[in-house]
């Protein structure tokens, strides 16, 4: 580790060697209290105006009649003046680079082997806006931004207790990206906090562009369909999760906060649930569960019933399906698979393409799927109807989009190839996949023994919020209960 030298020239030449060719590197030589010094910072990240107001103007006026050595000037600025310098100076080159890249300005003085840091960040960042991916009718409209410090301040503003801990650290990546582990120390399990902290410190992602990049380190090992973590872009949701004892990981440069551990039922909850009546929010949750199971199993069940168990269908419906299928060249199973894949392609295209072209794609897709495919006799109306319901239903639970899509395709394949047995196998696979998932010892499927305690207080149905508030929820209770039952 290269320590800072007492010679200003040596320090500057070391910095020049590193950043000299960078267009944004800014080094301005000054004289303070009769001592030569230099202000170093990155243009656009640190604000020269702020630095001038905070330090240079006042120091310039004071130093006209004073002559100090580098060490004396350092001690005076850091301890003997009201200049708002950071309490911890930098003493080596990696620290100096870390502060500079965080948008701070560093004052180096001749004859002093430490640099004084000033928090004069002037970073340009996206303003605090409502996240587009998480819609809500009531509650906070704020969303996380891309800057870690802003996100931490948004959380701090909501959780105004001395128990909220926000531990920032630098990940071992090629970009030295900063991340923060947030938790409430009176609610989170200390052993799990230690474990997660150690995992994050030992993680070696090549790049860290989002909090989700940590998942393979946090949940190592086998392949899984369901990931027992939750993502949110809303500080209000993150604050609520912190109060449930969960851990929140934020990464600089990403507005997406990773919350762990998460329960399956949480994918069906939103802030609005608690703002409306218990009866209505329970109704909405039942709808969401129905939508999720529809999106996973409806196409498979349709293929299985129509092909292998037609006697299950009412005759009128069966005749209509039969008539529609007779007009198409492909078998029902292949047709369903084709429509699902086409819908996925359209969705992916709509997501990735420039928004200005989105409407054109929607129009073309509607024409192709809705009209041309049926008119040419390539696809039947019942199949498109079922696939469309499925495609819409999946967006009711966006957090489960990935497993739902894979499971849907798997179910159609198994039901189409193996009939009722394949359908049973698909459901069995789904069941085993979901019950085998856990994070930090908390099972993804909360343990509510049947029939002793079939319903959670805040699960598919929820109780009155006043009753729920009587005994607070803590995620680590779930782990204890799960252990007792096994």
């Amino acid at each position: 580790m290269q320590q800072l030298s007492q010679s200003l020239a040596e320090n500057l030449s070391a910095l020049d060697a590193r950043f000299g060719k960078s267009a944004d590197y800014y080094a301005k030589k000054i004289v303070l209290y009769g001592c030569p010094g230099c202000i170093v910072m990155f243009d656009g990240m640190a604000s020269l105006d702020s630095l001038w107001e905070l330090l240079l103007d006042a120091a310039g006026r004071q130093s006209a009649s004073v002559r100090l050595t580098g060490a004396q000037a350092y001690a005076h600025i850091l301890h003997g003046s009201a200049f708002p310098a950071e309490s911890t100076p930098v003493q080596d080159m990696p620290q100096l680079v870390a502060r500079l890249t965080a948008g701070m300005a560093v004052l180096l003085l001749e004859g002093c082997s430490s640099g004084i840091v000033f928090s004069v960040q002037g970073l340009k960042f996206r303003s605090v806006e409502e996240p587009s991916a998480e819609g809500n009718l009531r509650g906070s409209r704020e969303g996380f931004t891309d800057l870690l410090r802003v996100n931490l301040s948004l959380l701090r503003r909501l959780v105004r207790t001395d128990t909220l801990m926000q531990e920032a650290a630098q990940a071992h990546t090629c970009c030295n990206t900063e991340y923060a582990l947030c938790y409430c120390k009176d609610r989170a399990d200390p052993a799990m906090v230690r474990r997660v902290r150690a995992i994050l410190q030992s993680a070696r992602p090549e790049l860290l562009l989002d909090s989700s990049y940590f998942v393979p380190w946090l949940l190592p090992g086998k392949a899984r369909l369901f990931t027992p973590v939750h993502y949110t872009e809303r500080p209000a949701v993150a604050a609520a999760k912190l109060c449930e004892g969960k851990l929140v990981i934020l990464v600089n440069g990403s507005p997406s906060a990773l919350v762990l551990p998460a329960l399956f039922s949480e994918q069906f909850e939103c802030l609005d649930d608690y703002a409306s009546t218990a009866a209505f929010s329970s109704f909405l949750r039942v709808l969401k569960y129905v939508s999720f199971y529809l999106t996973v199993f409806l196409p498979g069940v349709f293929v299985c019933v129509a092909v292998y168990l037609p006697e299950l269908l009412p005759p009128q419906l069966l005749y209509k399906i039969e008539a529609a299928e007779k007009a198409t060249p492909l078998p029902l199973f292949a047709e369903m698979l084709l429509v699902i894949l086409i819908l996925e392609i359209i969705r992916e295209a709509g997501l990735r393409m420039p928004q200005s072209l989105g409407h054109s794609v929607s129009l073309v897709s509607a024409l192709i799927i809705g009209d041309a495919a049926i008119a040419t006799g390539l696809m039947s109306t019942p199949v498109i109807f079922v696939a469309s319901i499925t495609a819409i239903a999946v967006f009711v639970t966006p957090g489960l989009y990935e497993p739902a899509t894979l499971l849907r395709i798997g179910t159609v394949l198994l039901a189409g190839l193996a009939g009722p047995v394949g359908l049973a196998a698909a459901f069995f696979g789904f069941l085993l996949s979901i019950v085998s998932t856990e994070a930090l010892g908390v099972p993804y499927l909360a343990p509510h023994p049947f029939p002793q305690q079939p319903f959670s207080e805040d699960g598919v149905l929820r109780r009155n919020y006043r009753q729920l508030s009587r005994h607070g929820f803590n995620i680590w209770q779930k782990r204890e209960r799960g252990r007792k039952q096994s």
Binding site: L309, L312, P420, L423, L431, S436, P443, F450
Partner: protein
């Protein structure tokens, strides 16, 4: 530090017993009332035997003979369930696909932890409960008590009672606290068999009809064939049982010799 072995919950074992008992049924060679009485007496005896086995195996390492006997019982149960499931698939769905899934099924059974089976059992119990209610609703209005007293009952005297390895393995497969509840497993087995027999008798006047006819009698407006759906549910439970028994066998042999249950 001694590692704590994961165990099954009584609900998981009960689901396994209920699944196979539902398929086995009470032999229909005897009159319904006689079969019910004999079944009740046999169940009491089995409960006593189950309690004795639980008391004998509690806090003790199972001997090799016990392990071998229970393994044989579980293995026979596994084969029996697979044969029943394949028979159902062939007869009702004209499908041999179960054989294709068999290696995957056994592999899953061998690899998956008991906690996963416990959680699966909770979900499947919901399905069984809903299936039972749907079945009852569909048969509502068709069940009549007087049919129990008709003279068209079979007159044979023999009556065999199925015995499952789960009855005697509760102390080894469940935690000490919940092992007591496994003593009632024979009651669950008998309850579903008796319900099926009673249903047949109340519906047809005799228990001699194939049990599938009970499902086929289901009727509600446009949907006339719910039996396939209920059979699919049983198939799911059978697949569960087959895989769970693999885990049970593994658990039997993985228990350390000197392990004392908490």
């Amino acid at each position: 530090m001694k590692q704590h072995t994961e165990r099954f919950t009584p609900a998981a074992l009960t689901l396994s017993v209920v699944t196979t008992a539902l398929a086995d049924g009470i032999p229909q060679s005897v009159p319904v009332r006689r079969a019910l009485w004999l079944g009740a007496v046999s169940t009491v005896c089995l409960c006593i035997l189950s309690a004795l086995a639980a008391a004998a195996l509690r806090d003790k390492a199972p001997s090799l003979a016990v392990r071998l006997a229970l393994t044989a019982g579980f293995f026979m149960g596994l084969v029996h369930t697979l044969v029943q499931a394949q028979g159902l698939c062939t007869a009702e769905f004209s499908s041999m696909a179960l054989l294709g899934f068999l290696p995957l099924l056994l592999w899953a059974g061998w690899r998956i932890r008991p906690a996963s089976w416990n959680a699966s059992a909770r979900v499947l119990w919901w399905f069984v409960a809903v299936g039972g209610v749907v079945c009852l609703l569909g048969l509502a209005g068709q069940l009549h008590w007087y049919r129990l007293f008709t003279t068209t009952q079979p007159a044979a005297a023999g009556c065999s009672v199925p015995v499952y390895a789960e009855y005697f393995a509760g102390a080894l497969l469940c935690s000490a606290r919940s092992a007591r509840r496994t003593v009632w497993l024979p009651v669950w087995g008998f309850a579903v068999q008796a319900a099926a027999l009673m249903g047949s008798a109340l519906l047809f006047g005799s228990g001699a009809y194939p049990r599938l006819e009970l499902l086929r009698a289901w009727s509600s407006g446009s949907f006339s064939r719910m039996d396939a759906l209920l059979l699919l549910l049983w198939l799911l439970c059978a697949v569960y049982r087959a895989s769970m028994l693999c885990t049970a066998i593994r658990l039997l042999w993985q228990q350390p010799e000197a392990e004392v249950q908490p």
